[in-house]
């Protein structure tokens, strides 16, 4: 068995990255080094979001985005589900009315289980209702229309939009802003960030989405994973700098190595 040409470096890099991240996770769990994440204002505002809804006696809405769990959008959706777990804990703690809307059918059972387990863990199993998690539509525009309707009909007080978003991002965020709904958007969808920045109270951008789970739970293992990813970014910065210098000097050795 041989590795297909063009994938040799990628294969070994994947092995090295995985080993590094596993090492940092283990080291952090064992307390070998302490990981501190820089403050992310948008994530701090989630509790305020739920608290506001509780005080107003109106629901807090959560969307795990438009992504699926079987495509390239899987990391965004799984990160959004980690945030859902935290929001469920806070909503259960405050006894807030909670509403989760789903676009992809595959995400529905995961979201339902996450919310149900959150209420059980908070000793609030009686407060859990099956209609807290609602499948709206797998069509993105119909999903937006359904959620906007819910904003009006349920008189939502706060909305947390996490995960992958596409063209309907502005429809959701602008409609909520018009109704005075407090919003926190957490997305790595570069093209949609401008709209969330314009229409939401807080916007958490790019890779902050993937770090959110660790940031909110303060779990040592997850924090170790974030530290491992930071080391990888530093290595990539180093490779780009060395590659640029060598290319300018007339050598394509780094490019050849990466495409090996």
């Amino acid at each position: 068995m041989t590795i297909a040409p063009g994938n040799v470096f990628g294969f070994w890099m994947l092995i090295a990255i995985s080993a590094l991240v596993i090492y940092t996770i283990r080291a952090s769990e064992r307390g070998k080094f302490k990981v501190t994440i820089r403050p992310i204002a948008g994530l701090e505002a989630i509790e305020e979001c739920v608290g506001r809804a509780t005080e107003m006696g109106r629901p807090v809405h959560f969307s795990p985005g438009l992504g699926d769990i079987v495509t390239t959008s899987a990391p965004d959706t799984l990160a959004a589900l980690q945030i859902l777990s935290y929001v469920t804990d806070v909503a259960a703690k405050y006894d807030a009315r909670f509403l989760v809307t789903i676009r992809m059918p595959n995400v529905y059972p995961l979201a339902t289980e996450t919310v149900r387990q959150g209420y059980i863990a908070a000793n609030k199993a009686d407060s859990y209702r099956d209609n807290m998690v609602r499948y709206v539509s797998s069509d993105q525009d119909a999903y937006a229309a359904g959620v906007i309707g819910l904003f009006h009909q349920e008189q939502v007080a706060s909305s947390i939009l996490a995960g992958l978003y596409m063209g309907e991002a502005l429809l959701l965020a602008e409609s909520a802003a018009r109704l005075g709904i407090m919003q926190v958007a957490i997305t790595a969808s570069v093209m949609q960030v401008p709209f969330f920045v314009a229409a939401c109270d807080y916007t958490v951008i790019g890779e902050e989405l993937y770090a959110a789970g660790a940031y909110l739970t303060n779990d040592k293992g997850r924090l170790g994973g974030i530290a491992g990813q930071d080391y990888i970014k530093l290595i990539v910065i180093g490779i780009i700098l060395i590659g640029t210098l060598m290319t300018s000097a007339g050598s394509n050795a780094i490019q050849s190595l990466l495409t090996m």
């Binding site: 470096f9 990628g10 890099m13 994947l14 990981v35 994440i37 820089r38 769990i69 079987v70 495509t71 390239t72 899987a74 990391p75 799984l78 595959n106 059972p109 995961l110 289980e113 709206v136 539509s137 797998s138 069509d139 525009d141 119909a142 229309a145 906007i148 309707g149 009006h152 009909q153 502005l170 409609s175 018009r178 570069v190 960030v193 401008p194 709209f195 920045v197 314009a198 790019g206 890779e207 902050e208 770090a211 940031y215 924090l223 974030i226 930071d230 970014k233 530093l234 990539v236 910065i237 490779i239 780009i240 590659g243 640029t244 060598m246 290319t247 300018s248 780094i254 490019q255 990466l258």
Partner: protein, 207 residues
Amino acid sequence: MQISTNIWQWISVICIFGMWSLPLYKDNPFYRVCQNVFVGSCAGHAIGIAIGNIVNYGFEPLFTQSKIDLLIPVILGLMLYTRFFPGVAWLSRWPVAFLVGVGVGQTIYASLRSQVINQSIAAMTKFPQPTVGATINGLVSLIGLLSILTYFLFTVPQSGVVRGMSELGRWMMMVTFGVGFGNVVSGRLSVLLGELLKIFGDWLGMI
């Protein structure tokens, strides 16, 4: 002016007005009817597609071509419904776990290849470039990339050079977002023009 006699044009335009009534006026029964027609028809369409897929890619090859291996996805699919039976509800987690595993497995190498290795190669440009303009362009791209990467270092203390690069990265992103905002707004205007064409052209026959 010749108003269309096609019933579907009328329904289409009525639905457009219904959707517009929410932002232009407020929540109203007309909007709710149009919203529910839209969501319901999309759900019906999705169910139709799903049933077609199950029959065409599942049952038909399984029973007419005896492709026994298709029993695995069929059984996994049926296991999803065990969540409605409390005694065996735990079985519904297996297909979900399988889906998540396949999703992550498919994504992990593709992301590394396209988002890390290929982009790193693309960033390694030669300096100086043939023209001053191209050199400045290349430098802005390189510094922008490195500063934005620095902004997303979460566990490195934000002081000294890191802080400076991080701030620069933030400004770079804000400029990029501004450009993106402008592009999409012009794209949305073309969508609005499409709707106006439907109303004044296809429906009223004025254009």
